[in-house]
Amino acid sequence: MARESAFWIDLRRILWAAAAGLAVGGAVLAWFGSTGIWIAILAVVAAAAVAGAVAGRVRPRAERNAGNGEVALPILSPLVREVLEQLPDPLMLVDAGGRVQFANRAMWGVIGVGVERKLVSSLLRIPKVLEALSRTSASGEAGVAEFVVRVPVERHYQAFTARVASDPPVAMLLMHDLTAVKRAEQMRVDFVANASHELRTPLAAVAGFIETLKGPAKDDAVAREKFLDIMAVEAERMRRLIEDLLSLTRIELNEHVPPRGEVSVEAVVRAAAAALSPLAEADRIAIKVDAPDGLPKVIGERDELTQLFQNLIHNAIKYGRENGQVAIALRQASTTGRRGQDAAVTVSVHDDGEGIPPEAIPRLTERFYRVDVKRSRERGGTGLGLAIVKHIVNRHNGRMQIESKLGEGSTFTISLPAVRNQVDAPVTEVL
């Protein structure tokens, strides 16, 4: 399809006018001879004006036939194009036939790259948005639709559709991200619900012991010692729980914001293993890290990734066999996504504990879910470790896989996308 800048269109127009004018002028001169020179000049001017006007209106149809039957697009000036590209909100222009004619960079993140001239209904499935778009295309009325994308991360959007008065007209779709606002509201509600639910039991225990110490066991030194020990353990449990809850809240609040740093996974894993080695030594468990040279860096936030691997390694130590081994292996891998091939780094943490029963595996990342409640409490678990891991993995656009066989231990594998060498994905220009 011909790419015409405004300059060439105008030039063509001028040439058509000039050619028509000269043709008519030549004909008049030939007919009237030199006496009709003034008539000739007038005729030339008139013909030029008419031809120029006709050429102006003929242009879109001519381009339509010259292409492959698609509706030609009005030209986007470079300034307008640049402005639209830089908008933080996803935006696309859809023609009357329902095909995407322009999608800005932010929109690529929503529907993938290489979308020009595809039918918008193949790229976006949300019925409310498609309805608003087709209504606006047909009637010219602007539309608003609110919708939620629940998987993988819950995001709330407001979609605006409007018709752009160009020739031929196109419909514009703009999506505005409301997630941050909705999340903040939701976080507050969730935190209170979770905190009150899980803190109730240890708090009740402590209250009970305090009453006993004030009453029946007032002068019983032995009982006092024992009860105070138990109360200290419960208080510590509550402190850890609140810390984990605050951690989870913080992570969930930012879950929809893509990370921007570059992190060496090997360094993070080794640091986490070193930090947890005293705990491992207490159970005589050896931590082994196996990483090849030349692993790429991953896109991520160092602090969150540190927390992720600390949680996984801590779990491996907690549930691993005494005198056993925690084996951590790092590898480079490649994944295919909507954006084509991507390099990734996988980290697998293997422990040789009892393993996890199959019906428990899909629920492991549920908040406060424990396979064996008693054992988890004994080892000081809050039930939030894997929920935290899951939300960090989600934010980092990664994947987590849990494999386990009863009697043979468990393997937790995390895959994180590596830093890309090229900044922009290749996209064919439409205009």
């Binding site: 595809k118 499935r125 019925p127 993988p152 629920r363 849990i402 494999e403």
Partner: protein, 233 residues
């Protein structure tokens, strides 16, 4: 003249795929709303789901007619033939998912008249997993991505395990307090419907895999049922 014919054929196939994607979007929205109606005890939303099922049935008929036209007039071969077949099969699976969503919504209306039960949250989680499978498989269909389809197919076991777990929890709940038997039975049926929806998503995954590669998932890759595994995302 030949170019024009070929282009019209491509457009027809494109329109077919687009119609299936649209139907997929409707099914996703119906299922999501049905589960939301249970989680938030929203009877109005449930009623909207019941009313919205007709549109899905209409779309399925439309897609079948379109596909039959393509088969009769174009006599497609190889990947084009597989694509046309995939459209028909996928539309059929999506129509079933739509019906399941409608049934879930009907039960939600009945359930919301009873006092709330704690276990609806576990049900909502299971529903979220089914929605995730459906979204991934519909993306795989639009992107012609056999790898994604295979991944969805492999994760079929997750929802089944969640169903087993929920089943046991519900039984315990009912045994503890017989007054909850009524609502818990409804929840059991709803859980079964969600599990069925997950199975239909897996069927779509098989269809997508066959459309892209021409092979069959079940025979190419036998399920390893010794080790249990689950994936997040």
């Amino acid at each position: 003249m030949t170019d024009h014919t070929v282009k019209a054929f491509t457009e027809q196939l494109e329109a077919l795929a687009s119609a299936v994607a649209q139907m997929g979007g409707l099914a996703e929205a119906q299922l999501a709303d049905a589960i939301e109606a249970i989680a938030r005890r929203d009877t109005a939303r449930a009623e909207a789901v019941v009313g919205g099922d007709q549109r899905i049935d209409e779309l399925q008929q439309q897609i079948e007619e379109q596909a039959l036209k393509v088969l009769a007039l174009r006599q497609p071969m190889a990947v084009d033939l597989r694509e046309t077949l995939a459209a028909i099969k996928t539309a059929s699976e999506l129509e079933r998912i739509g019906d399941l969503a409608k049934n879930i919504a009907k039960r939600a209306i009945v359930l919301n008249r009873e006092p709330p039960i704690r276990l609806t949250q576990s049900l909502a989680r299971m529903g979220g997993q089914a929605l995730s499978q459906l979204k991934l498989v519909l993306d795989a269909y639009s992107d012609r991505d056999a790898e994604s389809a295979e991944m969805v197919w492999r994760q079929d076991g997750d929802i089944d395990e969640m169903y087993n777990s929920l089943f046991r929890e519900l039984l315990t709940y009912m045994m503890e307090d017989p007054r909850t038997i009524g609502p818990c039975t409804h929840l059991l049926f709803i859980a079964k419907n969600i599990e069925r929806a997950g199975d239909h998503a897996t069927n779509i995954a098989e269809v997508v895999y066959h459309m892209v590669t021409g092979g069959h998932l079940a025979t190419d890759r036998p399920k390893a049922d010794v080790t249990s595994q689950t994936s997040v995302r």
